[in-house]
Symmetry: C2
Subunit: 204 residues, 2 copies
């Protein structure tokens, strides 16, 4: 089982608790994520209180199912923990994605609900959970034992792949590159340059 | 093998190519990442041209080993593809993390080198690869067959975990919460509220 390829967003959960050990494993996965200069600018709020969960749909319109999830994890960024200014968002996103993939690895189901940079959601979660001002609620992950089953998705899109330059087809030979022919599988965006001479030195 | 838990940043590579099929698998993993409203605001530049790779150390000070990597993937964000304003960074970070974990799953080694929001790096990669103005070079991932081996890391830090509120210890009983005692394993940050009455309803 490849947990990256098989992961899907799971929004329906069995009425069955997620053990503390499982939650610990998910948090361990989150914290092993890479971060800029290993700065680890994150905090996590584990939400398993029925009354707290009940308030989530009122502050996040894509979270009507939050009360049905045995546990929710609020990933937060702490600007004071940054060594590299401006990197906390991607660090926290890597940690969040690790939670999702680890959930899949453990047979759990999870979904990522965006919080930051929607200011209303940020403020509402901060108020709900007494989060200090320098800490930014970033994303909410609902976790449970899956009550829906989805086949792996294939979202591969060749038009998003470029090789050694924006207008260079993956399959283009050096001759094609030098001849600067369109119609080799990539449309040529207006206003960009083509035909870089170093393409002739392609290794593969 | 748990590819989330075992993944490490690999900066030394064997002199052995990464097959096109492997690169395709990594890109497929990247594009199966979740994104805000499934907006998929990403592009990928596969860099395997020796002359292009040779220019990377000059534009990214943490990439002296780029010429030794058989392939580098530049993950880019396209602001024009966003449905939800401001989410492209976290979407691209999830895609980037998927590449790293899938590389581990496939027995490859990879490292994430931050590009955005360091403006000098963004501009230098844009120029090097003819990337249009509305597309933002986000992160560079070097990939190869690992020539260094690292044990799994454990970066779990209990002080970053909060339960149902910022100042609530994971192990606190309802009585402790109502009594509002410090010294239960969490320091109390100045200026935040404590003793939320709904904590008494903890499920676990």
């Amino acid at each position: 089982m490849d947990p990256v390829m098989s992961r899907r967003s799971i929004r329906e959960y069995k009425d069955h608790p997620v053990s503390d050990e499982m939650v610990h494993t998910l948090l361990k996965a989150a914290m092993v994520a890479p971060s800029a200069g290993d700065e680890r600018p994150w905090h996590f709020v584990v939400i398993n209180d029925r009354q707290v969960k009940a308030q989530i749909p009122g502050i996040h319109r894509f979270a009507p199912m939050a009360p049905n999830a045995p546990v929710a994890l609020l990933v937060c960024g702490d600007e004071n923990l940054q060594k590299h200014k401006g990197f906390w968002v991607q660090d926290c996103a890597a940690a969040t994605e690790n939670i999702l993939i680890e959930a899949q690895q453990q047979g759990l189901g999870a979904v990522w609900l965006g919080v930051y940079p929607v200011e209303g959601r940020v403020q509402a979660f901060r108020q709900l959970l007494d989060i200090p001002e320098h800490v930014i609620p970033f994303a909410l992950v609902l976790v449970g034992h899956p009550a829906e089953h989805k086949k792996p998705a294939d979202r591969y899109d060749d038009s998003r792949v470029h090789t050694n330059g924006w207008n260079v087809s993956r399959s283009a030979s050096s001759d094609e590159l030098l001849a600067h022919q369109p119609g080799n599988g990539k449309a040529a965006p207006v206003g960009t340059r083509q035909g870089r001479t170093h393409q002739a030195g392609c290794e593969q």
